[in-house]
């Protein structure tokens, strides 16, 4: 029971703090925000790794590998695309564009 209350507390506190911080993000950055939080939701990768720390059947291992592949895809893809996007934004004086975009 204490565990449950503790976990609900973790959820509630994180949700609240997240809500407070994120509601101050300007619309300008909403797309990078979503792609980054998307990458953060791939934190499930920790769960996928933990599956490999216990003796499991072959089936469980296969499913675990699937979880690892999808989570790492989500994680790496999300952070990389967010980085590319945030580099695109340029300020007025056009001071050194610090990201050479190859795609157009």
């Amino acid at each position: 029971m204490a565990d449950l209350i503790f976990m609900l507390l973790v959820f509630a506190i994180s949700f609240t703090i997240g809500y407070l911080i994120i509601s101050r993000v300007p619309p300008l950055l909403h797309t990078p925000l979503m792609s980054m939080t998307n990458a953060i939701s791939a934190v499930t990768i920790l769960g996928a790794i933990l599956l490999f720390a216990e003796t499991t059947s072959l089936g469980a291992k296969a499913i675990g590998a699937l979880a690892l592949i999808t989570a790492s895809f989500n994680l790496v893809g999300g952070f990389v695309i967010t980085d590319r996007m945030t580099r695109l934004f340029k300020a007025r004086q056009g001071r050194g564009s610090d990201g050479q975009e190859t795609q157009s």
């Binding site: 990458a39 939701s41 720390a53």
Partner: protein, 474 residues
């Protein structure tokens, strides 16, 4: 490692993540914040690898390598117009991860008689699977691989309710069984959840896509949080909750920008059908009072108007992105500035296909972000503006939303383009936008219509813009 050190590590990783997110105030900060968050997660992964004895490191490394390289490859190759489709696809991948982990934990069971964990496991499984299939539909629609308009099944809401009931039934039954019967039951629950996501997402389309993609963002986070409760991992719960909060904020912002409740967007699917009848009625009631001009005449008049103007606001819509005209539009803005006029962009929150999409598209075209102005900030300025140039936008500048009571877009906040002295419309044609409501702005005497491919029309506008006023041809 003693438990309080573990707690301390977890706590610092969460704090690092939140610090990363709080950097999202300026683009520069956002880049730093993204790196901070990525570092935090990398630390978390290393810590888990260090704390636990991994039984099959080769398979683990291989799976990580495969997933990361595909992710990096796609992220490096995606163009900015593909971003919404890619992000939706990633929501789906996150859903699969949460769903599969919950599945393994549920079947491993036996020892876990804890009701909370069991319920969370089922929720992780169901939400994860539905997020996966819903995201695949969303991604397909955003990538134009599927029809973008909403598809309705007969008795759509009943099908959804039936699926929900079936899933609940499977889960309740599943909690009483074990072994092979459990696998079968979970398989059924999984299948029903995937169907649920499909049926749920298929009837949302077009201009409602920003709501759907934000909603899926929230459910992907929620699935991760439930997954965290099952395996009793604080980091998963905290991260999942933060993502859920972010997705909720964006969902609410998008709904507000369209003046539609979430329920209406997600569960009505009616906007288009209803708009069809309204559209014909309004069209019939309002015979064209607009001054008919040929394209050449309109172009000459438009250039004259631009030459005289001191202040210009450009309103880009998704049509601009579809025509890939953002580079021409950016060039036009630069040209106008060189001629000593002020040129800024007014961006409606649902102008793109996901929150903030239009900002990214214009940033890609090298428009400085200080020139991008949001609706609340810019709406009071239109009255003192000489020229508004609408490029590929319709519903978001449709005055019917504020002037007529019973259209599908009535009450939706719009950009007050009609209040400017002159309006140039560079849309593909005069047809109504996604809502189906004809745009009375087109009939205003102050409006000049330049219909056609925005790439061509904006290039035409740019040509000889600096030279002295020409004599009207013909």
């Amino acid at each position: 490692m003693s438990s309080w050190i573990t707690t301390l590590f977890d706590l610092s990783i969460i704090v690092l993540l939140l610090v990363g997110i709080s950097q999202f105030r300026t683009p520069r900060g956002a880049r730093l914040g993204n790196t901070t968050a990525a570092t935090a997660l990398l630390l978390a992964i290393l810590l888990v690898l260090y704390r636990n004895h991994i039984l099959d490191p080769a398979l683990l490394a291989l799976a990580l390598l495969v997933g990361s390289s595909i992710g990096a490859l796609i992220a490096l190759r995606a163009t900015m117009i593909q971003i919404p489709a890619m992000v939706a696809f990633q929501h789906g991948a996150g859903g699969v991860a949460a769903c599969t982990i919950s599945l393994v934990e549920l079947t491993r069971g036996g020892a876990s008689t804890n009701i909370v964990e069991e319920v969370s496991g089922f929720l992780g499984l169901v939400i994860g699977a539905a997020t996966f299939s819903g995201s695949m539909v969303a991604s397909g629609k955003l990538a134009a691989k599927l029809r973008q308009t909403p598809s309705m099944l007969p008795g759509h809401n009943w099908i959804l309710l039936f699926l929900l009931a079936a899933i609940t039934g499977f889960c309740v039954f599943g909690s009483t069984t074990a072994g092979f019967a459990l696998w079968v039951t979970l398989g059924c629950a999984l299948g029903a959840s995937i169907l649920l996501g499909l049926v749920f997402a298929m009837r949302i389309g077009g201009a409602d896509m920003p709501v759907l993609i934000s909603f899926l963002n929230a459910t992907a986070g929620l699935a991760a949080a439930f997954c965290g409760i099952v395996i009793q991992n604080r980091l998963l719960i905290a991260c999942g909750a933060t993502v859920a909060a972010s997705g909720s904020i964006l969902t609410a912002a998008m709904c507000k920008a369209m003046n539609r409740s979430l329920i209406k967007v997600l569960a009505s699917g009616k906007s288009v059908a209803r708009a069809g009848t309204d559209a014909t009625a309004v069209v019939a009631a309002a015979p064209a009072k607009r001054v008919e001009r040929t394209y050449a005449e309109a172009l000459v008049a438009a250039k004259e108007v631009l030459r005289q103007a001191k202040s210009v606001i450009i309103i880009p819509g998704y049509g601009m992105a579809l025509a890939r005209a953002q580079f021409q539009v950016a060039a036009l803005a630069t040209r106008l500035e060189q001629l000593g006029k002020s040129a800024t962009f007014a961006i409606h929150p649902v102008a793109g296909r996901m929150p903030g999409h239009m900002h990214v598209l214009l940033a890609e075209a090298d428009v400085e972000y200080e020139k991008l102005r949001d609706m609340e900030d810019v709406n009071s300025v239109f009255e003192q503006t000489d020229v508004v140039i609408v490029v590929g936008a319709c519903d978001v500048v449709n005055p019917a939303a504020v002037k007529m009571p019973d259209t599908p877009i009535s009450g939706m906040p719009i950009l007050n383009a009609h209040k400017a002295r002159h309006v140039l419309v560079c849309n593909l044609d005069g047809r109504p936008g996604y809502s189906g409501v004809p745009n009375p702005l087109y009939d205003e005497p102050a409006t000049l219509l330049l219909f056609g491919d925005a790439n061509v029309t904006v290039t035409d506008l740019l040509q000889n813009l600096e030279s002295a006023p020409e004599m009207p041809a013909k």
